[in-house]
């Protein structure tokens, strides 16, 4: 043992990321900041799709759904598979979202319904089990290779801003798609009976019964919406993200942070949280590369110290 060499990290401090002295940092033109902001916002939108479903499920069903990221991954793999089978990304979307929603509802019916009366603990562990199962089924169905999905020809190409700076059209499309979904979701919650139920449920589950509404149906719908959003996010993200096994876990945790910051059950919170994280992550990556991963969590910790229940916590 004694002969074993010292720790690897002994070599190179790691904080020495910049051979060029800070002063030497090139002046970044307006286009640069514009694009960086676009990047942050686009990432934020994507997070919002996932986080909004997560926060609804938290707020209304009172369930910590660790498997939410798995649905995001399933969406992406479906997008890849259907796209290669049908040859049309649009078609892939149209088929893929319902399929994943169906999967989600089946799990809700046969799994969660037995757990609503149980301690949160069991729901959490159940969803953790789901992660393992869905992950392995994925590797049986699609293997563990990394896949790419081609950007639909219509949206291929990018908008040149300076001679090197340009912004991919498809990323704009993602932002718009998310914006549309967000608007739709808000409309649904503000102006429909279902939305009324959801708002009631988010603030107080008993109230839903008081209002004489069918809780089980509400739960089913909410879970369906959540899964749908996650899968949809996974699908439209597929062309810009490589489709790979670890993707579910990555998005899950960061979405947690978004929900924690925004406040359980609050769509508004999810939105602002997502934007905050999207931008923080983007600019963190640029300005303190070494600590990039920690930045968003530090941000979360700060918010929690200030507001233990998040920015827009219901009640």
């Amino acid at each position: 043992m004694a002969s074993l060499p010292p720790l690897r990290s002994g070599e190179g401090s790691g904080w020495g990321q910049y051979p060029a002295s800070p002063g030497e940092r090139v002046r970044m033109d307006a286009a640069y900041y514009l694009i960086q902001i676009l990047n942050g916002v686009q990432y934020g939108f994507l997070l919002f799709l996932v986080a909004s479903g997560l926060t609804l499920i938290f707020g209304i069903m009172g369930i910590v759904n660790l498997a939410h990221g798995a649905f995001y991954m399933v969406g992406a793999y479906l997008a890849f598979w259907l796209d290669s089978v049908t040859g049309s990304f649009t078609l892939a979307l149209l088929i893929g979202v319902p399929v994943s929603v169906g999967l989600g509802l089946a799990i809700e019916r046969f799994g969660f319904t037995h757990l609503y009366r149980r301690d949160h603990l069991y729901q959490v562990l159940f969803t953790f089990g789901l992660i393992l199962v869905i992950g392995e089924l994925r590797s049986i169905l699609w293997g563990n290779d990394v896949y790419g999905v081609d950007v639909p020809p219509l949206l291929a190409g990018s908008i040149p801003l300076t001679e090197t700076q340009s912004y991919p059209i498809y990323r704009l499309f993602i932002s718009l798609a998310c914006l549309a979904t967000a608007a739709g979701l808000t409309g649904l919650i503000r102006y429909t009976k279902l939305g009324m139920m959801i708002r009631a449920g988010a603030s107080n589950r008993e109230m839903v019964q008081v209002l004489g509404l069918d809780v089980n149906r509400l739960f089913m719908v909410v879970f369906g919406i959540g899964v749908g959003l996650a899968a949809f996010a996974g699908m439209i993200a597929a062309p810009v993200n490589s489709v790979h096994p670890g993707m579910g876990d990555e998005i899950l945790i960061i979405s947690f942070v978004v929900v924690v910051i925004g406040g359980v059950g609050s769509i508004k919170g999810a939105f602002f949280g997502a934007m905050l994280i999207g931008l923080a992550d983007t600019f963190g990556a640029v300005f303190l590369p070494e600590a990039a991963g920690v930045v968003v969590y530090a941000l979360m910790a700060l918010v929690l110290v200030w507001r233990p229940r998040g920015l827009f916590a219901g009640g």
Binding site: T164, S242, P289, A292
Partner: protein, 396 residues
Amino acid sequence: MSDTPFVANRRQFLATTAAGVAVAGLPRFAIGAPKRIKVGLMLPYSGTYTLLGNNITDGFKLRLAELGEKLGGVEVEFVRVDDESSPPKAKDNAAKLIVKDKVDVLIGTVHSGVAEAMVQVAREEGTLTIVPNAGSNRITRELCAPNIFRTSFSNWQANHPCGDVVLKDGHRNVALISWNYAAGKEMLDGFKESFVAGGGKIAKEFLPDFPKDEFQAYLTEIAALKPDAVYTFFSGGGALKFIKDYAAAGLQGKIPLYGPGFLTDGVLAAAGPAAEGIKTTLHYALTLDNPVNVKFRESFQKATGREADVFAVQGYDAASLLAQGLTAVKGDIGAKKALYAAMEKAEIDSPRGKFTLSKSHNPVQDIYLRQVKDGKEVVLGVAAKALNDPATGCKA
């Protein structure tokens, strides 16, 4: 999953082969040289690197088949462990093969972190180990040992030659980007060493977290920095994502992209036109035009139905190396000194071209310069002839 017929695991094997049970139970060497040796495969059979694990396995089996299912005259029994590319489990998995299954030879693995932990156990237990991929420099430097061999490459080897290549192409100011983990840093350092020595300048170095693959922010900054070229290492999913984002950000063709071969290997099909023009250096190229390689690609295709790749080659050569060693000692795995000596002197006629081993048991091999043209990896020439890893810190 690997479709070549072989013992999937110990239990099944023992169930099917009475001999196996007998030998597994018997005290070894009671009857001179044993009729069979136990080879432990510690490779990723689940997770992101599954395909690599399978190709290495099948490469090894292909060579074994060519040699008539015998290595140096002895039959081979396989024991397989899925290391999941999970460093925390590495030592337990290695111990499982060495201590529980009492394998004679350990073959593994892909992930550098896992490989290092595995090698440490192998050093303690003194088990013959052949590393068929993991490029961590340390394995044949600080961690080198008489019983540790490598048939793949060192991260330094795969990158060092590219420094001169980039300079020759007339690029003086280069931005670097790779994941912030050991392999990534070793790769970039290998490049920097020769590039800076030759008068090159590093515009900036980006190290996103492993395995984060949202590169947009970095690409935007690279575009603003306008370096002469970008040198990068990513593999698998990250590589594919980076190549596509790089093109999507409109940098393809404007700022040339360089890197070690892993950047493009295995992702060409998925990347499509986005990969066009990328120049890489590696100890192998699928399109290498030598008889061994041509034959190898055919038979691998035939045996597995899959296209061969550099990983299959490394597994294939692991078998060759072991075979030469065992032949020299007439299959007596017990004669460790002679065995290791023979393996150290071995000259492997590999699909990558002939190579020998250094004192630190790392391949001394040619590094090729390749470029992606029309979705194919084209060999432009040899970037470094018979390149030997410095092996600094190897005391064995």
